[in-house]
Amino acid sequence: MKFTLPWLREHLETEAGLEEIVDRLTMLGLEVEAVETRGADLSPFKVALVTEVRRHPDAERLSLCRVDTGGELAEVVCGAPNVHAGMKAVFAPVGVVIPASGEALRRARIRGVDSNGMLCSASELLLGEDRDGIIELPVDAPVGRPASEVIRLEGPVIEVAITANRGDCFGVLGIARELAAAGLGRLKHRDFRPVPGEFEAGLAITLDFPPGAEAACPLFVGRVFRGLRNGPSPAWLQARLTAIGLRPISTLVDITNLVTFDLGRPLHVFDAGRVRGDLSLRFARPGEALAALDGKTYRLDPDMTVIADASGAISLGGIMGGESTGCTAETTEVVLEVALFDPLRTASTGRRLGIESDARTRFERGVDPGMVLPGMEYATRLIQGLCGGSAGRPIVAGSVPPARPPFRFRMQQLERLSGIALHGAVIEQHMRSLGFGAEWVEDGVLQLWPPSWRHDVTMEADVVEELVRLHGYDRVPPMPVRRTEAIGHPALSPEQRQRASVRRALAARGLAEAVTWSFVEPELARRFGGQGIRLRNPINAELSVLRPSLLPHLLSAAARNQSRGQANAGLFEVGPRFFGAEPGEQEVVAAGIRVGQNHGRHWAEPPRPVDVFDARADALALLASCKLNADAVRVIADGPGHYHPGRRGRLMLGPQTILAEFGELHPAIARDLDITGRAVGFEVFLDRLPRPKAKPGRSRTPLKASPFPPVDRDFALVVAAEVAAESLLSAIRGADKSLIREVTLFDVYEGQGVGDGMKSLAVAVRLQAQDHTLTEAEIEAAAKRIVAAAAKATGATLRS
């Protein structure tokens, strides 16, 4: 919402200067977003008369204009849709500096035609935001004189952000009211006295809503005017509208815009000469359409409020008028509409049709029902003053809705909720200054009647906000929040802490943490194990389903990093994957990827391609950081289809639970994702980990370090090539639990000497007893048990 300081001063008698007003507005909750001082020097620009307008021979949107600049004639090319012969415009001669660009205007050749100067828009002269049309000066502007003599600049312009609850502040009056209530001046009133009607218009207006839906439009006041002169509005009105970014159109339209912003009271004028028969307020009929003033035709739904005449819908209630009854320069007779429309219905209609308008902005937030008749009288004065003619007697359909019921405010609620206490008299005075009726009905209980413009104050908490606002949010003394115990309990749950340590464990392994979108492309979702949960309104097709896996974004990011010269990349993410659409059908996953080589070239350590064991090591390190006992986890050679079928695995907890999946990315997917070299990845499903125990103590089992010397024995065992090493190792570990301390696989050999389809696994076993030094006989016996266990589990034989 924009307004100018002089405009505000028409509503508020105040000594306060700009700075004080701006500060106070912000601290009242009307956040000042911008203050724009205006005043580019317009003296080099001239008032010009457009004498002739022709279509440019080579460009549909451009016009060739002949312009009288006061004795001199100039040919200019103009792209504005509103240029027309006979209009007065602002002419920029060649050489003049255009305020918006800061550059001097040069003679230009546009599509083969010379342009000697320019007709200016408001935005080019820093007079407003309108850049689509050129400024239309009043018809009586003296041709050839400096534009600065005609264009009156109004400023400074103040722009405030109005919160959704304060529809009443979408008018300068509402803003002035706030400042007056805050003690910054005295409210002045427009002349709202009734203007007597001079004739009976003979126009009937009916509200035709089905029973129960009367709230769609409870009140509609029409007033007919005759014998008007419509044309460009006077300079002061144009200046005012231009200042807040509106384009002056014609006196009648400008008046409706002025009142919309002045009182927050949207109006509409129909060209009475183009209205067929009487007016009726009703819901749109099935299939009904409206060609609106914005040049578009809208198909209407049967719950949308329209104003109709004998021809059908001619206006969309509370949103936008129709083209068929719009005012033109020739209009001499109008119907002025001042009505109330249902906020929710207006919002819904506007949203479905995609129409943003100043009227909709106000109606959907609720306009002041008490301002219908005064607004009509004020508009009548403006129309008569600027367009002449005579006004008919008002035609009133419906009635002003009943005032909101009063409610009680217990004054101790103020201190309870805000921490500040005010005297009853001060509370009463604040509420009265805001327009509330106030009466003490019990000790400490104030009965409040909200003013007609405040729909948002309905309960005690609302009153507390009003009181603290006027008193000053800055005067509420801050109080420290202290925890109740001297030493705090952990803020994180065991699961949350686990996630935190997982992040740091993976970062410590050289992976960089990524945060990627929760949504992904459907095709990628499919390739990574799910059809994905679909969004109705995705931001684009690439981000249209919820991700079933964290890998696609990490891998695509790795490819992008490679294209930026980062051939070897390691990324991880801890975040949700989605396996269903219901709330909660998601789980936390820690996923990581590595692409390329384990590091760059180095004089001492030649790099190697990343492989599946890197991915498994990452997953295991992550599980270790979660204090999961590695012995409890089983590796199996199986996994989802996005991995290489021969280079993938799962980490299992018990027979059923898949804790993690890892592997080398399927080469076909790597190719499609433009990954250079090998890519490996893992996903650990953190929510499937056993819940960390919440036990009272954290004591550990005593350390049993044997003082007796350990003995190392190596075994070369030959097994069939397809035997999983893990089955051999676990057989050996189980061969003698009391003596075997460590089992290490240190060589895998296939080839000459071990036979076709066989491999030799070299295993070092460390033996140690808890209570004595092992004898040679004991060692031999243990070795036999080891070989026997290996043979039983895998058919292994000692290599000869």
Partner: protein
């Protein structure tokens, strides 16, 4: 005298042996000298053996002399041994020299994302004030995201939220990606009785994408409900928070009235800042920067979760995590948070072991 040497001969032998010891060029030569002098068949050993042939009187005198010889030679050998060994080591050390300026073996340093780091910082601060961390799902139903938060169907605030809707529905209404972390308030209050003191960081979604908006971003919600928490506590809590977070005790703060459907009274909090040469300096200056929205929890919200607003009261707030990360660490572009560019992560990310704590300091 049948055997034994005259003293002069012993002296000569000693001189000869000492000269041989001194002349031994390396450890091997010295060993040769030792064997020839002191070995079983060595010259000094032979002398000692010949003592048996002497008269007791002479044997004692000669014995003393031979022992002295043996000791002198042995000491000389030992001294020469040490000498030769040390020069051999010196030679070895010279031979073993490496260029210590060669680059060390590669190790890749990982990084923690600024969103995680800043979430940890925020958590550390609120933990000091007795808050614990709550969570909720990314997919929400209409009630938790809107209805319970006093945002009815046609409310303008609802339209402004740019909600992502799922194709799936619950109770005849489409499910949504949560537009804010506020539904966690509702879940927390539905899960158990008051009092409540939680923060809820997490992912949030809005159907918006431009220079300063991304379809996914991060918020942290705060909720504190008990029998007496009022606006003063709201101001104190959040003022203490921003000063701790920006690690400056003098950050100017301002609370001004605002509007949210789920709080009443409502406020926005600004912090002081200064803009100079395109740079934004937080914590000083005459400009204000909006940092979060907050307010006293609306009685309708409490009623929606069956908490009696006549008894229980308190505040809630919501703040953008990405946004405060940008402010604190001078990260210019929100969109870069979600494009895992390794150069960006290495530059703006944090080392694995930099765990923020209030006792050790939030950042280094």
């Amino acid at each position: 005298m049948a055997s034994g040497l005259m003293d002069v001969d012993v002296d000569r032998l000693e001189r000869a042996l000492l000269a041989e010891v001194a002349g031994a060029a390396d450890l091997q030569a010295l060993e040769q000298v030792r064997v020839e002098a002191l070995g079983r068949k060595g010259r000094v050993t032979g002398l000692t053996r010949s003592l048996a042939e002497l008269e007791p009187e002479a044997r004692r005198a000669a014995g003393q002399r031979y022992n002295q010889l043996k000791q002198t030679v042995a000491e000389a050998i030992a001294a020469r041994w040490r000498e030769l060994q040390s020069s051999a080591l010196d030679a070895q050390l010279i031979a073993e020299r490496v260029d210590v300026t060669l680059p060390v073996r590669p190790s890749v340093e990982g990084r923690i994302h600024p969103v995680s780091q800043v979430t940890d910082e925020i958590t550390a601060i609120f933990a000091e004030m007795g808050f614990s961390v709550a969570e909720g799902p990314d997919v929400e139903n209409d009630f938790n995201n809107f209805g319970a938060l006093n945002i009815p169907e046609e409310h303008p605030a609802r339209q402004m939220m740019d909600t992502f809707y799922l194709e799936a529905e619950q109770n005849g209404r489409p499910l949504v990606l949560r537009t804010h972390t506020s539904p966690v308030q509702i879940r927390t209050m539905l899960a158990g009785p008051p009092p409540y003191r939680i923060i809820a960081p997490g992912r949030t979604y809005r159907c918006d994408s431009d220079m300063t908006h991304t379809p996914m971003f991060h918020q942290v919600e705060g909720l504190m409900i008990d029998r007496r928490t009022h606006m003063g506590h709201l101001k104190g809590c959040l003022t203490d928070f921003v000063r701790a977070f920006f690690e400056r005790d003098d950050v100017p703060v301002r609370f001004r009235p605002s509007y949210f459907p789920f709080t009443e009274p409502s406020a926005e909090m600004d912090i002081g800042c200064r803009r100079s040469a395109g740079e934004l300096i937080v914590g000083e200056g005459d400009d204000w920067l909006e940092i979060l929205g907050c307010g006293m929890v609306h009685p309708n919200v409490l009623r929606a979760v069956a908490v009696d607003p006549e008894v229980w009261q308190g505040f809630a707030f919501g703040m953008g995590i990405d946004r405060v990360a940008m402010l604190k660490y001078g990260i210019p572009d929100l969109r870069t948070f979600f494009e895992p560019d390794l150069r960006w992560l290495r530059h703006y990310g944090f080392p694995a072991l930099d765990v923020p704590t209030t006792y050790g300091g939030l950042s280094r």
